[in-house]
């Protein structure tokens, strides 16, 4: 038990353990890497191992410190995460309590922007860091999604971040290190987190019985997660299937029959989904296009024939199709579109993804990307019609 149960982040884990062993633990760490690769998980395990009554950076799982850590109620571990600014103080306490219980990332803040405010940093980090530990000897502060700190909050943190009291460790986690002020970054030791291998993701998904993944589903989910088990965990078993279906409905074209349905769909994506979900949706669109591209390349190089159900094609040449359940639609698209079409679409979706990341107006972004999709589809189908006519 302990840090070694973290899968696929060996370099990060060994950096922490060797720093601890040599007595050179930094007072501030910046865990950075893609969303859902286990930055917070490592931070929490790290805190648990520091607090555990056994020597060294291990946790026994049975001492009272470990049991409190499991319930996220250890008085010397302080977990700070972004919450919506519009929330009332009374709701906030409740939200935090339930967020801590349920896994704070699962909180549904909808479309509200969640931030870490200057008041939060002051009362939860600065003041608490300057109190001696409750049990001791360590105090650990985990500031999740630290890039959501407001400028004032980040500035308030600087002094404490630079020289916290003894035996205090502050861990910041972020998937967007560039969004953090340089003054914060320069005060932390950076620890890079990479994506996991597909096998590790699969193992993570199967390891937790609460998630309820069947081995086959876990394989598919791991493929979609792109090395970030947290992404698959958050959408869960049922959620993932639903997301794939809704992407398939749009990419397959059955939702984009005319202008008004296209606008409806764009509005739905823009106003019903939160920003994170929008990002994810665009990622899934890219994965769909990747599948199409792979199939069409295969055909171009004279691999398996254009017939349906080409899943039995032989050997190493067969690409892995992530949208295995929607193979027929993908094949249809691969048949009608050429590489230029696909390239254009991939660029469009990628641009859209970046636009959303930079807080562009989602309604405009989605209308534009769906319009592009419709135009390319139309062009492909008329070209195909013309080609048939000639023949």
């Amino acid at each position: 038990m302990g840090l070694e149960r973290i899968k696929g982040q060996d370099s990060a884990v060994s950096l922490l353990t060797s720093a601890y062993a040599s007595g050179r633990l930094s007072h501030a760490y910046l865990f950075h890497g893609p969303d859902g690769v286990g930055k917070e998980a490592v931070a929490l395990e790290f805190a648990r191992a520091l607090h555990c009554e056994t020597d060294g950076l291990e946790s026994c799982g049975s001492c009272s410190a470990c049991r409190m850590a499991d319930g996220l109620s250890h008085p010397d571990t302080h977990l700070i995460f972004p919450v919506p600014t519009t929330i009332k103080p009374a709701e906030l306490a409740e939200l935090k309590a339930s967020g801590l219980k349920a896994g704070f990332r699962d909180q549904d803040f909808g479309r509200k922007t969640a931030v870490i405010s200057v008041d939060t940093v002051l009362s939860e980090v600065v003041v608490k860091a300057n109190k001696r530990p409750y049990i001791g000897p360590w105090k650990v502060f985990i500031i999740a999604d630290a890039d959501r700190m407001t400028t004032e909050a980040a500035n308030t943190l600087l002094k404490t971040l630079e020289e916290p009291p003894e035996q205090t460790v502050i861990v910041l986690t972020t998937s967007r290190p560039t969004a953090l002020p340089a003054t914060v970054i320069s005060r932390c030791q950076r620890v890079a987190f990479g994506r996991l291998s597909r096998k590790d993701v699969e193992a993570v998904l199967l390891a937790d019985p609460r998630l309820g993944f069947e081995p086959k589903e876990a394989k598919a989910a791991a493929a979609m997660a792109q090395g970030c088990p947290g992404v698959a965990v958050r959408s869960g078993r049922a959620g993932l299937a639903g997301e794939l279906r809704s992407v398939a409905l749009i990419m397959g074209g059955s939702r984009l029959t005319n202008a008004s349905s296209l606008l409806d769909e764009a509005n739905r994506l823009a106003y019903r989904l939160g920003r994170d979900e929008q990002q994810k949706f665009l990622n899934l669109m890219l994965l769909w296009l990747r599948d199409v591209l792979q199939l069409s390349q295969l055909r171009g190089s004279g691999g398996s024939s254009a017939g349906t159900g080409g899943g039995n094609a032989s050997g190493t040449g067969e690409p892995e199709i992530l949208y295995a359940g929607h193979r027929a639609e993908i094949e249809r698209m691969a048949d009608s579109m050429n590489v230029d079409d696909l390239e254009q679409l991939i660029h469009k979706v990628d641009d859209a993804r970046r636009a959303i990341e930079r807080y562009s107006n989602p309604s405009i972004v989605f209308t534009s990307v769906l319009l592009d999709l419709a135009v390319v589809r139309k062009r492909a189908s008329t070209r195909r019609g013309a080609a048939h006519g000639v023949r």
């Binding site: 002051l122 009362s123 600065v126 409750y134």
Partner: protein, 373 residues
């Protein structure tokens, strides 16, 4: 667990710990009291914590069966307060607590004791004795200066230090400072310096006031301090230091001395301050050999002036103070006369009693306001 107890005793015990329970908390169990019963000692104990401060109090009861449970603090307190005069009997079955008194019957649901945060261990054997009355006085004489500014956390507590022959407590918020020291033999305690949060100090004063008792035991640890007052233990986390070197800011070369009656100046300041600026609360002191003028002049509000007798050993000078800070200092000094020792109009004034008690030293420092010419 099962016990019965006089309602008054239980109510008193609850009131000793209730103030620690915070209404809004991220940990549901912190809204509860830990209630344990000891069959052998025939006592029950109540514990409340907000993770900064933990208060435990024990009281005698007819214990039939030992055990422990945590139960909602506010509800339990309300029930006990509202009960009639009959004895209260409490019994626990699993997580359900039933409270009976006369013909009243209550059942409430608790949380198992395992979820209550483990308390820092505190050993009475390491504790030292302090005179209760002295401790109370020391706390009251300095804690009004404790800073509330969260950006300088080490000032958010009172600095309690021990030297071979003195024990002292100091607090400051950067505008004023109060330090109180008392002579005695504290050699064994030297090095136990600590910054104690004001909440723990004021709770200790409250418990001392309510319990009487003349001896208080204090145990200083690395991370926390414990006060043992009769059957009640207050355990508080300490603040991280270092506390600024306050000796450095106490001016040593103030050569002018003003002597004035404490009541005279207190009442006069209170009167003229009515018209002072709501932001700066500035009151101007014009010092003459035998006459002290207090003036307040606020544009758009008005002017106030008062004159009182004094003794001043230098040439005429003018100095401004925040009236509230000045009143705070005057209120906490002893004796009939106060002594201001001054240097320049922009340097700190050292204010102390003109008739200090033997073996004690209570000094306040007050930063002046810059007067507009």
């Amino acid at each position: 667990m099962k016990f019965s107890i006089a309602r008054g005793d239980l109510d008193k015990a609850i009131q000793r710990v209730l103030a620690v329970v915070s209404p809004k908390t991220t940990l549901p169990v912190l809204a509860n009291l830990l209630l344990t019963a000891d069959e052998k000692a025939k006592t029950i104990s109540l514990t409340a914590t907000d993770l900064d401060m933990t208060v435990t109090t024990a009281t005698a009861a007819e214990v039939e069966a030992g055990g422990g449970i945590t139960l909602p603090a506010k509800r339990f307190a309300e029930i006990v307060r509202a009960l009639g005069d009959a004895d209260v009997s409490v019994s626990v079955d699993g997580e359900e607590i039933s409270i009976r008194s006369g013909k009243s019957n209550f059942r409430i649901v608790g949380i198992p004791t395992e979820e209550f945060p483990t308390l820092p261990k505190s050993d009475m054997a390491d504790a030292f004795d302090v005179d209760a009355e002295l401790l109370t006085r020391m706390i009251e004489k300095v804690s009004f200066c404790v800073s509330k500014d969260e950006t300088r956390p080490s000032l958010n507590g009172a600095y309690w230090e021990f030297k071979a022959d003195t024990m002292s407590m100091t607090a400051t918020d950067g505008h004023r400072l109060a330090t109180f020291s008392v002579a005695g033999k504290f050699k064994k305690l030297a090095g136990n310096d600590m910054i104690v949060p004001p909440k723990a100090l004021s709770h200790a004063v409250r418990i001392i006031g309510a319990e009487g008792g003349d001896g208080v035991k204090v145990a200083a640890h690395q991370n926390h301090v414990a006060f043992f007052i009769e059957g009640t233990t207050i355990n508080s986390r300490l603040l991280e230091g270092p506390f600024p070197n306050y000796q450095q800011v106490i001016p040593k070369d103030n050569d002018k001395t003003l002597l004035v009656g404490r009541d005279d100046i207190t009442n006069a300041v209170r009167r003229v301050a009515v018209l002072s600026d709501t932001l700066t609360h500035q009151v101007k002191l014009t010092l003459g050999k035998k006459k002290l003028d207090l003036t307040v002049s606020t544009p758009d509000v008005g002017e106030a002036k008062e004159e009182l007798p004094c003794k001043f050993d230098s040439d005429k000078m003018e100095v401004g103070y925040n009236a509230n800070y000045l009143l705070d200092v005057l209120k906490h000094l002893d004796g009939d006369n106060v002594q201001f020792s001054l240097g320049t109009a922009v340097g700190a004034a050292v204010v102390s009693s003109a008739e200090p008690a033997e073996g004690e030293e209570h000094t306040c420092l007050l930063m002046p306001l810059r007067l507009n010419k």
